[in-house]
Symmetry: C2
Amino acid sequence: MALIVQKFGGTSVANIDRIRNVAQRVAKMRDAGNQVVVILSAMAGVTDNLIEMAHAASPQPDKREMDVLLATGEQTTAALLAMMLQSQNYAAVSMLGHQVRVQTDCAYGNARIVDIDSRRLLDLAQKGTIVVIAGFQGCDPAGNITTLGRGGSDTSAVAVAAAMQADMCEIYTDVDGIYTADPNVCPQARKLDRVSYDEMLNMASLGAKVLQIRSVGFAKKFNVPVHVRSSFSEEEGTMVVNEESSMESLVVSAVTHDKDQARITLKNVPDQPGIAAKIFGPISEAGIVVDMIIQNTLSSGETDLTFSVPRSDFARAIKIEKQVMEATGAEEVYGDDTIAKVSVIGVGMRNHSGVAAKMFQVLSEANINIIMISTSEIRISCVIDEIYTELAVRVLHKAFGLDVEE
Amino acid sequence: MALIVQKFGGTSVANIDRIRNVAQRVAKMRDAGNQVVVILSAMAGVTDNLIEMAHAASPQPDKREMDVLLATGEQTTAALLAMMLQSQNYAAVSMLGHQVRVQTDCAYGNARIVDIDSRRLLDLAQKGTIVVIAGFQGCDPAGNITTLGRGGSDTSAVAVAAAMQADMCEIYTDVDGIYTADPNVCPQARKLDRVSYDEMLNMASLGAKVLQIRSVGFAKKFNVPVHVRSSFSEEEGTMVVNEESSMESLVVSAVTHDKDQARITLKNVPDQPGIAAKIFGPISEAGIVVDMIIQNTLSSGETDLTFSVPRSDFARAIKIEKQVMEATGAEEVYGDDTIAKVSVIGVGMRNHSGVAAKMFQVLSEANINIIMISTSEIRISCVIDEIYTELAVRVLHKAFGLDVEE
């Protein structure tokens, strides 16, 4: 007997028939003698509809009230699943954020979980009751409803699993696991059986489609084993777990790509103290996140400085830098929003040198020019011309031995 | 400056434009310097949709979970109105049943309000914040969500007004007040400026379309002045208030009718002790409410016993009585579901004799046969053949001086 937390996303509870499918899965897990706690998202599309309604009601909806509104989505699915399980003679009860006492800070719309009172949950689970928790929601110390941001139900699930010291946190979604690359781009991509927390954290573009990245940080912190799998098949998915020695044999686990990239160059910036603040201060104040920065110091004592931003912020960022050209002393500001970032990721890199060199060589052999480079302990990213994205992913995927074995 | 509770029903908040209309009304009341507390129903149709979803999920939805589900309807409208008011620069905050602390008993689906914590509400109102409360919902001592039954938002409003000792509880609905008779039946019907709590309580069929009858009992108990009015016009509606001496001049205030009636007769029942239990016990166990009962004791020592039930329960009631014929000793069981009840109501009756006699005479002059009669302190009801309903209402309305003054 084990304590299992199961989380079902919006597509898995999109209508009554899908919820019935969820009820079957939950019942099966319970029938096997396990204690089961379920976390649900809102029906697919409902949250967007509610946001639309809010914007019809107010040009800038108050964040507290937005959370009150959005919380109805998960409340609906939790009640429906609980009554469905009961009609099948399972003891089941729905619980909302404030009833579980998922205590958060006061950051409406993007609240952080501070504490979960696991006593009542454990008590119910031990009695054999299936607890169906409305995901995505909590309450602040004053009892106001808060929500955890897009994909927050994943974080709800991992946090509940952590608080209850569950044996497993299953995340049911509409894909069947984490892949070595985007299968739409790289048909040779394989489903990973296991991936480490750190790898997931570095796989933003691949991973975020499947699992809210914040939940991975939570899982790592509390060492919660997470199983990402499809709610539409019985196949095993991908286990997201602590780094294990067996993983080290694989140098690179995945190749990711991200087309949401643009770069901006400031030409001939004087290389003076305080210049970075003048360049990046206004960008940061505008809420734009800078990813990579490179600078070429010229013999003249000046610098060409290039940085990358999300493509949707490109126009704003260019405008800001042109406005502060006088302050930064840049001769010219120009940019390019037809770039992409490809990355290779793997905990095995820690113990293997030469991964970067190999990556550069593989791209070079494919005649792909590298525009910018950044690295972390377990990731190497190259910015390239957008048109080469798919090619780059495929050649890297093959070169690092990730292609499906025929 | 006064403290005003305003309640808006489902048709008044049926969509964003209607909610905008509500926001204007609320803002106007606030602009006039009043403290305002608003109680909202769910958008018209939403509660029915949720019930339908629940029945798709479970043949007999669990009552606790049904309340969790239904409570989302009022949560939605409360959040939308609060954000709308805020976008118009009014201080406003939504509050749910458990946040107000509308404490109820544990009777899911039909809970009774036990207590309302008015301190926070008063505090907010005194600071000028418009408090927007989700109607229809409360929570039991264990923190479970409860709902107050159909029309429960009226009771929420009156209870909040009572707890806060509000100066007025305005009930905004899709009709403009209480009429002396159903205007569809009696074109001469007039809107009443005032009606007493007791009269409302006796006007079930006329009044219940406008105001949940339970809320009237609450208003009477705590002496809350209620103003029933249309959310689509600026006209004054009907004040529901304590009986006043000025009311006594009007003997009859209203003529009501109710076609949801059927009668069942048990022929030649032995007139023995315990017979009533044998006849009405099984009916009561089936959850059927018996309205009137008459019996004709015959010289033979036997009795013809006739009683009335809601028309929708007619077939079941007949079946039950046929099943227990042996036990009751009835020779025959037969019935009729083409009857109707007309009533005249008025607190003035208390001090005027002869109202019943006049009613019988008026009906008789119109050649309408009276099948059954029942009376209360301020009401006289006659069961007649259904086809004479409209005629009876009109002749009584005229005879008791209620017709519109030309």
